[in-house]
Symmetry: C2
Subunit: 212 residues, 2 copies
C-alpha cells in the first residue's frame, strides 16, 4: 500500500523540481496523476506532510560512499553526492533545514558521518557536535548555491559596494579584485569540505596526543 504514497510524493518532487515549491499544491499534484485533490488525503494527511515527503524523496536519492574507503574520502564522497542530488533539484533544497527528514535513509547518512568521525579518532563526546557542524555547513553551502546566494545574484559586487560610502567599506575595497571575479564554485566546495575534514582530523589528533 505504500506504493500510492510514493507515487504521490515522487510526483510532488517532480513538480517542485520543474516549477518550484510554490507550484506544488494538492490540486496540481493530484491532477498530474488524474485524481482530485481530496483523493490524496487518505495517503498524505496534509500539505505539510507532502512537503516533508518531498524532502524524504530527495534524501533517498543520495548515494552512500563505499565503507572500504578511508574516512576522509568517505566524508568527501558523501558531501559530493549530496551536492549532486541537490543540484538536480535546486528548488527543493531550501526545505532541508526547515523540514529535517526523520527516515531510515536520513539516518543512514548520519550513521555514515558518525562512523567516519569515529574512524578519524574523534572522541565519542565530540562526534555528535562535529557531525552537526559538518552537515550544517554542507547543507548550508548547497542551499546557498541553489538559491544563488553565491555568485553575483541580483546585485553585482560592485552595485553592492555602492550601497555605502567607500570609507565605511575598506575591506570590500581592498578585496574588490577578488570579489568581482566570479568564484569557481566547485573549487570552493572542495576547499570547504577539505577544511571541515581538517577540523575532524585535528579533533582526532587531539585525542591521540592526550591518550599517548
Amino acid at each position: 500500500m505504500p506504493e500510492r504514497k510514493t507515487l504521490i510524493l515522487e510526483t510532488a518532487l517532480q513538480i517542485a523540481t520543474e516549477s518550484g515549491v510554490d507550484a506544488v499544491s494538492m490540486r496540481s499534484v493530484a491532477s498530474r496523476i488524474d485524481l482530485t485533490a481530496m483523493a490524496l488525503y487518505p495517503h498524505v494527511p496534509s500539505k505539510e506532510a507532502m512537503l516533508d515527503g518531498i524532502v524524504d524523496r530527495l534524501i533517498a536519492r543520495v548515494k552512500l560512499p563505499s565503507p572500504e574507503a578511508p574516512w576522509d574520502e568517505r566524508l568527501a564522497e558523501l558531501a559530493r553526492s549530496f551536492r549532486k542530488v541537490a543540484r538536480a533539484h535546486p528548488s527543493v533544497v531550501s526545505m532541508l533545514f526547515t523540514r529535517p527528514a526523520v527516515t531510515p535513509d536520513a539516518l543512514r547518512l548520519v550513521e555514515t558521518i558518525y562512523q567516519a568521525l569515529l574512524d578519524a579518532g574523534v572522541p565519542d563526546a565530540e562526534v555528535p557536535r562535529l557531525e552537526r557542524l559538518i552537515s550544517t555547513a554542507i547543507v548550508g553551502f548547497v542551499i546557498s548555491e541553489a538559491e544563488g546566494r553565491f555568485g553575483p545574484g541580483s546585485a553585482t559586487p560592485r552595485a553592492r559596494r555602492a550601497l555605502l560610502p567607500g570609507a565605511e567599506l575598506p575591506a570590500h575595497h581592498r578585496l574588490a579584485g577578488q570579489l568581482d571575479a566570479s568564484p569557481h564554485i566547485t573549487a570552493e566546495f572542495e576547499a570547504d569540505v577539505a577544511d571541515l575534514i581538517e577540523l575532524a582530523r585535528r579533533a582526532g589528533r587531539r585525542r591521540k596526543s592526550t591518550t599517548s
Copy 2:
C-alpha cells in the same frame, strides 16, 4: 517617506515573530495598522518584497562588535549577537538563506567579517571563501536551533535509532550515551565558533609561513 514602509515591515516582523511566517498576509499586516491590504501596495510592491523586508529588519537589529577588539573576539561577538537576534525571532530565521538581504546593514556585517579575516592575516584570495564558510555555518546553526533540528525534536534519539536494525547503526549505538543526553546548545555554539576561528587562524598562519 520611508517611514510608512518601515512601519509596514516592522509590523510584518512583529506578526511573524508572534504567530509564525505563515500568519503574515497582506490582509493581516494591513489590518493591524488599520488599513486595507491594497493600501500596502504603494509602499511594498508584493508579498515577496514584504518577506524580504522582514529579513532586512532582522539583520538591522544585529549589533556590530567594537572595532578595537582583537579579530577573533570580533568574530565571536558578531556571531553571538547574531544568534541573540535570531533567538528573539525564531520563525523568521528560516528565511535567512532563501532571502539574502542586500542592504547597507547586511553589507556592514560582511565588512566586519572581511576585516577580521584580513586582520587575522588570511590572504586576500581566501577571504571571500572563508567569509562564506563562516557565515554559512553560523546561519545554518542558528536556523537549526530555531527549527528544533538540534535537541530531541519530534523523534527522540532512541526512537530514531529504532527505524533501522541495530546492525546497520553501529556508530549510533556506540554513541548512544552521547546522543541521549540533551546537548548544551550554547556550549555547542561556542565550540563551533571556536572551530571556525581556528580555521581562520590556520589560514592566516599558512600565509605567514609562506611569506617568511
